[in-house]
């Protein structure tokens, strides 16, 4: 049996408040964290103690969450976390059933996080959903490999990783 994946969102406080948003997003940025698990309870697998397989800041969290359903993901828990009175966010736990759906989802998160405008999300959705699995595998492996740069202390790991998303954008001219 192959491993399954679970992902969840985690907020991190911005250094400065964003002038673009109000509410939660003004002070916080959401990160998506993917964990792999085999037999464990997925929620405990995605607990804060474990190192995630990959984590990255994302935009358009709702779209990313919705996309998980399209790749066969299942929301197993949705909790409302309060950061301080009057400021809360929805923390989901979503199980992705297999490697391919994980890869599709990761690639979608990567691409969408490189967008400042949500102009092309639906186009990206159908693109990623129909992407050749071999190519998908190559792209996500590159991304994961670049994520590992993080351990070596290279501060530019995120730029390197997100370049995978940018590459897909350029390749399919959906910039």
């Amino acid at each position: 049996m192959g491993s399954k994946y679970v992902f969840t969102f985690e907020p991190r406080r911005r250094k400065r408040p964003s002038s673009e948003y109000r509410g939660f997003l003004k002070r916080y940025r959401l990160y998506i964290k993917y964990y792999s698990f085999v037999d464990k309870d997925p929620i405990s697998a995605a607990s804060g103690e474990r190192q995630p397989k990959v984590a990255l800041p994302i935009r358009f969290a709702e779209v990313v969450l919705n996309f998980s359903k399209e790749v066969g993901g299942r929301v197993i828990k949705m909790s409302r976390e309060e950061l301080r009175p009057g400021l809360s966010y929805d923390k989901p736990f979503v199980v992705l059933p297999n490697e391919i759906s994980f890869q599709r989802h990761l690639l979608f998160s990567l691409i969408s996080s490189t967008y400042r405008k949500p102009y092309r999300l639906n186009t990206i959705k159908s693109l990623v959903l129909t992407l050749n699995p071999f190519f998908l595998n190559v792209m996500t492996n590159v991304a994961l490999q670049r994520y590992s740069l993080r351990k070596s202390g290279d501060p530019s790991w995120y730029q390197h990783m997100s370049r995978v998303g940018r590459a897909v954008k350029v390749l399919y001219s959906v910039e």
């Binding site: 935009r59 092309r120 999300l121």
Partner: protein, 1192 residues
């Protein structure tokens, strides 16, 4: 019932030796198969068509010298001894010649008439009778048969291949003819010299020769004889001319022509061009020009086919067949069939036709006829060949996978799946364009295999290896019927070459039903399925109707493919496609991007900037959009519920939405126009439906067209199979189709845009707690969607052209209800209000516009700001010339940055409210060694403290600029002004000046801005300098006393002091009645009003209402029974005063017999007012007194 399997079939057909094209020469030489060599066997296999009968009779008539006879009730006339047999290859002419040969041989060899007649009877009764009647004469004539078959050298000698008979060497046709007729001498010299004989020689040769001369395959003689064509031609010409002369008797010449005759001319068929030389064509043409040549095509194509086939293939007699047919009909009539089948059978008269055509289905014959006579095939010969192959295939059980038992030979029994039969039968000699039909067959119906493979196959293997992929996945029943129908359609398409111009060749729905009937299956249903699975099947007309025509196209129909794929496009897929189209429109203009420049006025930026998105429903809009500070645009790719939309828009005044329709808003949805329905064939069934439904339909088509990739096209044209030539052709086709798909996509896209524009016509937003609609949006193709929406909203006024400080103040004052002079407000609250209120019609503005308006407001210095604990107002500039508002904003920005705060967190405070606090702050923050100066509006530079101590310091400081200057010489400057200075009265001003760090004499020049007499005007002296000056003001008012301090004649400092000069006034109390008459100056001011009687109180009230002031009232009422009421009041509220006044009035009324005494009624005015302002209001001046002040 006897099925096809049980019918007795002729041996030669079994062995595939049925070949009827055995040559005449073979028969003459006795080398033909026995069934052809033996006259009786031959007659059994021959169906004597009317034409053949007439031909035989005419030959015999010529021989007998008869011009007109009646046989079997029909009159036959003959006009020439020469009969031409035109027919294409396989048309039955050789067969006819053999027939004549056999009849004449029979006549010659038989002793009695009955011998001949009994045999000829097999062939035809009438012909037998004719022979019986003329037996005597025939026997007397003992006719010769001269056969010239140009295929054989011994039957057609030539100089190349001469023959030697009885010591003679014969080397030409005429020599051979002369020899056979026993008159060689007549042509001897011509034969020996290889020249054509003279006509008179031929005439002698033929006259009364008592012979039938049959010339077959003359064309070959031209090519092979070695004689000059002109010689052969002149021989033929002379022969025809002489034989046809009425003087020549007892001879019959029969020449077969490998051409079909129509309208007297030769049809130069391209397929024949290379078989025979053009000289032959000329010669035969010339021969045909002779007026008295008989032309007799031997077979009547239309009607005789069934009979010919029966005779040639089966061993049953006509009567037996009739009996079998009756059995079949009786058996079938008892069965129950679907209505469509019954109707088809009855309409076509099947039950009658089958009796004549049994065991062939009438449509089988029809198909054969079409195949044989309308394509490149040889007529009779190939028709028989194909039929025999079909029957053998049935008998071998090669169709057992298709039918359990075979009662009739059906049209679908052409064994198209056997490679040999296909290429040897149906596609034999097929021109190049027919090759594509092999591809069609392969990709739509069946892959042909060789016979041996097919024989070995089991039933299941048929489906896996032979049946084409599209048909393989159907249900068993549908598949069987589907294959049958597909085969029929394929064969008919082959005839019409799959070209729409040959539409008449293709079967209609009802013909197809008939072709597979009788059957218990739902034929029309299966046709519908076929249409969706077979890529190259096209239906012309309404597929449901009986008259629609079905055919396979050589070029696969992309439209059909789209139509097929469209069935699998769900609404969700269509909406997703819409999302993508709309997303395209967000980024760049809708419509196909043409090369070159964008149109004039093209832009991509808009007020919505990056806050645009496409969503399917309000629940799927990302929070990044919903929580954005700036205006956002949401495009819905689906209909939206009003409530959901309101929930999304409420509290988000910066959000606007576009949707094809909001349920519950806007009444009935827009319907498709008749133009749409007529103009777009895809919408022809959408009359009366909504535009949205029309758009979805077009989207389905567009989605289907977009899903056609290279792979799909390849499978459509079956690239990769077949020969190299076919592969190359299919690659060309692939390119063609790709282009077609592209143009189709473009067509759908353009239709889509038209409907898109009609669907998205309203912009939705929320104000005053409700969803508001702006209608009339036009999504043009020259701009992306966001700028279009922005322009629309600007026209409609939702987005203001400019949002400045005045607009901001309007929001603050009128919508939030703030007092701009007093109330403090946080900028964040104003922004929050604009962004979220449902109480006011706020505009749609960007955060930037708002911030600029705040900046503009701050630049006026009307408001101070508080950031945290810091109060900011007028900045202290580093230089005199610096721009104050910009410096202020920069200071604010730095503060915000330092506090990690944003504009929302600052508090706006009207400047007067914080002036004192501010000036203290400013003064306490002046660094050492610096002096705070004010550059006044008049351009003077003054010491800040001097201004502060002067007149109206707040206004002067607000109007001026503050800046710091280095303090080079700290100056002690003290001035003592007189305690009170009155106009026209002298006062003394004392001053003290000391400059630290300087020694020596200074000079002080004194001056004033108004008429002030100063004495002395200049003071000199050593430091520290102190002195006294006298000042005499001319009138009351504010005076500036300026001190210009010079050191060594250089200006050192300018200081000023403000002096207030009082005027002299006199106060007095005058009765109001006298006030107007009294000669009072214009400067007289009223200070207060007093009343002695109750009647004066209303005047006091009305003055208080107009000018304000504090009223004091003291009244006492003594009531009759010793009661008393005392009323004492002091108020500045006119309304309270009004109430008190009415109370006093009421009391005066109840104190009827008592007394009311006004002890005090005084209104002290807020401001001193000119006398006229008061007197014009008064109504009861008698009881009022005015306290006035007047200049002395």
């Amino acid at each position: 019932m006897v099925g096809v399997l049980n019918l007795r079939i002729r041996e030669e057909a079994k062995d595939l030796r049925y070949e009827p094209a055995t040559d005449l020469g073979d028969v003459v030489k006795g080398r033909a198969p026995s069934f052809m060599q033996d006259p009786a066997a031959f007659f059994e296999r021959t169906y004597l068509t009317e034409k053949m009968k007439s031909l035989v009779i005419k030959v015999l008539m010529n021989l007998l010298g008869l011009k007109e006879v009646v046989v079997g009730g029909r009159t036959y006339t003959v006009s020439s001894n020469v009969i031409l047999l035109p027919s294409e290859i396989g048309g039955g002419k050789t067969h006819t010649m053999i027939l004549i040969y056999h009849i004449l041989q029979l006549i010659n060899s038989s002793a009695s008439a009955e011998d001949v007649v009994s045999k000829v009877k097999i062939l035809d009764e009438d012909l037998a009778n004719f022979i019986r009647e003329n037996w005597e004469k025939m026997k007397t004539l003992s006719p010769k048969v001269v056969v010239i078959d140009c295929k054989y050298s011994d039957l057609a000698p030539s100089p190349v291949n001469p023959i030697e008979i009885a010591g003679r060497k014969i080397s030409t046709l005429w020599g051979y003819l002369g020899y056979e007729l026993g008159r060689y001498e007549l042509v001897k010299s011509a034969d020996e010299r290889h020249v054509a004989p003279y006509a008179d020689a031929l005439s002698k040769l033929l006259d009364e020769c008592r012979a039938v001369i049959m010339i077959d395959e003359i064309g070959r003689y031209y090519d092979q004889s070695g004689l000059e064509p002109s010689k052969i031609s002149s021989f033929l010409m002379n022969l025809a001319e002489m034989a046809s002369k009425y003087t020549v008797k007892e001879v019959s010449v029969l020449i077969s022509l490998p051409y079909e005759i129509k309208g007297g001319g030769l049809i130069d068929k391209s397929s024949m061009k290379y078989v025979h030389s053009p000289e032959l064509v000329d010669a035969i043409n010339t021969v045909l020009k002779r007026p008295n040549v008989e032309i007799e095509p031997p077979v009547n194509e239309e009607t005789d086919l069934a009979e010919i086939l029966r005779r040639r293939i089966f061993m049953h007699s006509r009567e037996e067949f009739e009996e079998l047919a009756n059995d079949f009909v009786a058996g079938e009539l008892g069965k129950e069939y679907p209505d469509q089948v019954k109707a088809a059978l009855d309409r076509e008269g099947f039950w009658e036709k089958i009796k004549k055509s049994y065991p062939f289905h009438p449509e089988f014959l029809e198909m054969l006829r079409r195949l044989a006579y309308k394509s490149y095939l040889q007529k009779t010969r190939d028709a028989i060949r194909i039929t025999v192959q079909s029957i053998l295939a049935i008998r071998e059980g090669l169709f057992s996978w298709l039918d359990d038992e075979t009662d009739l030979v059906m049209p679908y029994h052409f064994p198209v799946f056997i490679d040999e039969i296909l290429s040897d039968g149906i596609l034999r000699n097929a021109p190049a364009e027919y090759l594509e039909f092999k591809q069609i067959l392969r990709s739509n119906i069946a892959t042909p295999r060789n016979l041996e493979d097919v024989r070995r196959m089991k039933k299941d293997e048929f489906y896996d290896k032979i049946v084409a992929r599209p048909l393989r996945n159907l249900d068993e029943e549908d598949r069987l019927l589907g294959i049958k129908l597909a085969v029929i359609i394929w064969l008919r398409s082959l005839i019409g070459l799959g070209l729409p111009m040959n539409l008449g060749e293709f079967p209609t729905t009802s013909e197809l039903v008939y072709s597979v009937s009788p059957t218990e299956f739902d034929v029309k249903g299966v046709l519908g399925i076929l249409r969706s699975v077979l890529p190259q099947l096209v239906v012309h007309g309404d597929p449901e109707s009986d008259t629609a025509r079905w055919f396979f196209t050589r070029i696969p129909s992309v439209e059909e493919l789209v139509e097929t794929l469209k069935k699998n496009v769900t609404d969700d897929m269509a909406k997703r496609r819409l999302s993508e189209v709309l997303e395209e429109g967000l980024k760049s203009r809708l419509g196909k991007k043409k090369k070159g420049r964008h149109p004039k006025g093209y832009r991509t930026e808009s007020i919505f900037d990056k806050n645009c998105c496409v969503a399917e429903d309000p629940g799927k809009v990302p929070s990044d959009i919903l929580n954005s500070e700036n205006p956002a645009l949401v495009l819905f790719a689906d209909e939206v519920d009003q409530e959901d939309l309101l929930n999304m828009l409420r509290g988000r005044n910066n959000l606007v939405a576009l949707a094809p329709r909001v349920k519950g808003i806007g009444g009935t949805p827009t319907l498709l126009l008749p133009e749409d329905v007529r103009g777009l064939k895809e919408l022809s069934r959408f009359e009366g439906k909504t535009v949205w439904e029309g758009l979805l339909e077009i989207l389905r088509y567009y989605t289907a067209a977009c899903s056609i990739g290279e792979e799909k096209l390849k499978s459509l044209v079956a690239v990769g199979a077949g020969e190299r030539k076919e592969v190359l052709a299919s690659e060309d086709l692939l390119n063609l189709l790709s282009e077609k798909v592209e143009s189709l996509k473009e067509y759908y896209y353009n239709s889509l845009l038209t409907l898109l524009g009609r669907c998205y016509r309203s912009v939705y937003y929320c104000r005053l707690g409700k969803v508001q609609v702006l209608e009339g949006l036009v999504l043009e193709k020259d701009l992306p969607i966001p700028p279009i929406v922005e322009d629309f909203l600007r026209i409609k006024g939702l987005i203001p052209d400019k949002f400045g400080k005045d607009d901001l103040l309007t929001v603050m004052r009128d919508q939030i209800g703030l007092d701009p002079d007093k109330d403090h407000v946080k900028v964040g609250n104003i922004w929050n209000f604009i962004r979220t209120t449902d109480k006011a019609e706020v505009p749609l503005i960007t955060r930037r516009m708002f911030e600029l308006a705040v900046d503009e407001l701050l630049k006026t210095m009307d408001y101070a700001v508080r950031v945290g604990d810091h109060l900011l107002w007028k900045p202290v500039l580093r230089k005199k010339g610096e721009n104050e508002p910009i410096a202020f904003l920069n200071e604010l920005k730095n503060k915000l940055y330092a506090f990690k705060a944003d504009l929302d967190e600052i508090e706006l405070i009207p400047w007067r409210e914080i002036f004192d606090e501010w000036q203290e702050n400013v003064l306490s923050n002046v660094p050492r060694g610096k002096v705070l100066k004010v550059l006044t509006r008049e351009g003077e530079v003054l010491n800040f403290e001097d201004v502060l101590k002067g007149f109206d310091p707040q206004t002067r400081i607000k109007a001026g600029k503050l800046f710091l200057e280095d303090e080079k010489y700290p100056i002690e400057f003290e001035v003592k002004l007189p305690a009170k200075l009155k106009e026209r009265k002298e006062g003394v001003v004392e001053f003290y000046i000391n400059v630290k760090g300087l020694k020596g004499e200074i000079k002080v020049k004194l001056s004033s801005d108004r008429e002030l007499h100063i004495e002395p005007k200049e003071v000199k002296g050593a430091l520290p300098l102190s002195g006294k000056i006298k000042v005499l003001p001319n009138s009351a008012g504010n005076y500036k006393l300026k001190f210009d301090i010079f050191f060594e004649n250089k200006p050192l400092e300018k200081r000023e002091k403000h002096i207030f000069v009082e005027g002299e006034w006199r106060k007095e109390l005058i009765p109001a009645v006298d006030a107007e008459q009294a000669k009072l100056s214009e400067e007289t001011r009223v200070l207060s009003i007093r009343a002695d009687h109750i009647t004066g109180i209303p005047d006091i009230v009305s003055i208080a209402k107009v000018h304000g002031g504090t009223a004091e009232i003291h009244a006492k009422v003594y009531l009759p029974k010793g009661d008393s009421v005392e009323l004492k009041a002091k108020t500045s509220d006119p309304q309270v005063l009004q109430i008190i006044s009415s109370v006093i009035n009421s009391l005066s009324r109840v104190s009827n017999e008592g007394t009311l005494r006004i002890e005090k009624a005084k209104l002290s005015l807020e401001k001193e007012l000119p006398l006229q302002d008061i007197t014009k209001i008064l109504k009861n001046p008698d009881v009022l007194k005015l306290e006035v002040k007047e200049r002395v």
